[in-house]
């Protein structure tokens, strides 16, 4: 097949029969089609990079005073994702986690591993407490979450009283 310049106008014809061929509209459609292909390519690249969750752009890590929160910036509605907390136990072997109730109005907590020793609700927040922690046995606490509503959310959770503000966006 001979290659031609994509911007070059195509051949004009003068058919001897009636035909609904609007070549100007065809040319516009071809330009839009090429732009559309480029958009689709960018969409796939951005999806690979994690703009729609699970990838380099989505993966976030916050660290303060030895406490670490790893979470996804971008999620998709009804598609589960995990959040991992790394927290050193205090002198009494206790780890405390505080998550606002508002956060769970947006995300359904499917499970938390390992199970906390105590779970309470106070002042509009859930408190998860791990007692008698042997740091050698527990190095990470994982929350498996299911986004229930789309849109952006910014909430502050606390790990061992260290606040972390999580900003997330859930796609439809």
């Amino acid at each position: 097949m001979l290659k031609t310049n994509t911007m070059e106008p195509v051949e004009r014809v003068h058919p001897t029969f009636p035909i609904d061929e609007n070549i100007e509209l065809h040319e516009k459609a071809w330009v839009i089609q090429r732009v559309g292909w480029a958009v689709l390519g960018v969409f796939v690249i951005m999806a690979c990079l994690g703009l729609f969750g699970t990838g380099w752009l989505s993966h976030a890590r916050l660290e303060e005073q030895g406490n670490v929160v790893q979470y996804e910036r971008f999620g998709r509605l009804s598609t589960p994702f995990s959040m991992t907390l790394y927290a050193p136990a205090d002198d009494e072997g206790i780890i405390r986690i505080r998550i606002p109730q508002d956060y769970f109005s947006r995300y359904e907590l499917q499970t938390i591993v390992p199970k906390p020793s105590e779970q309470t609700v106070e002042n509009g927040a859930y408190y998860f407490r791990y007692d008698h922690i042997d740091q050698a046995n527990i190095n990470a606490i994982r929350l498996y979450l299911l986004p229930k509503r789309m849109g952006s959310i910014s909430q502050t959770i606390a790990v061992n009283d260290t606040p972390f503000t999580l900003t997330q966006f859930v796609y439809p």
Binding site: M1, T4, D20, E21, L25, H26, A29, G36, S78
Partner: protein
Amino acid sequence: MMNPVIRGASIYVFLLIIFRLMGKRTLSEITTFDFVLLLVIGEVTQQALLGNDFSITGSFILITTLIVVDLLFSMIKERFHLMARITEGMPLIIVEYGKPLVKRMNKCKIDEQDVMEAARINLGLERMDQIKYAILEKSGSISIIPYEAAKKM
């Protein structure tokens, strides 16, 4: 969970745009792999449409939504001819007086072999110079007007 009507309508519009961008030739000449790809697309679409809603009411809502959106589009296309041209495309002459219109063919990703195949299958023609006009139709098929037929008109 998103409202099923919004879900159904947005998937309809997305599929309309994506298949229009793919071009009419892409799916008109279906190979075995294209067929498998279509099945996979159908499966992914089904999951996106239904989500976790397997109720009869949910399926009634979705089927009705898809039909209503399709009806709306057909009414709009009937009323506004330009809309029909945009969503369905238009026929395009690709051979004139036995001469392949290479620039037009390149734009549509078809070659002379495709034209000759259509000429052989439909009319038993052997050479390009027996074709007066070849037209890439809206459906993606190639119709051939041979010189003899043109003379009869």
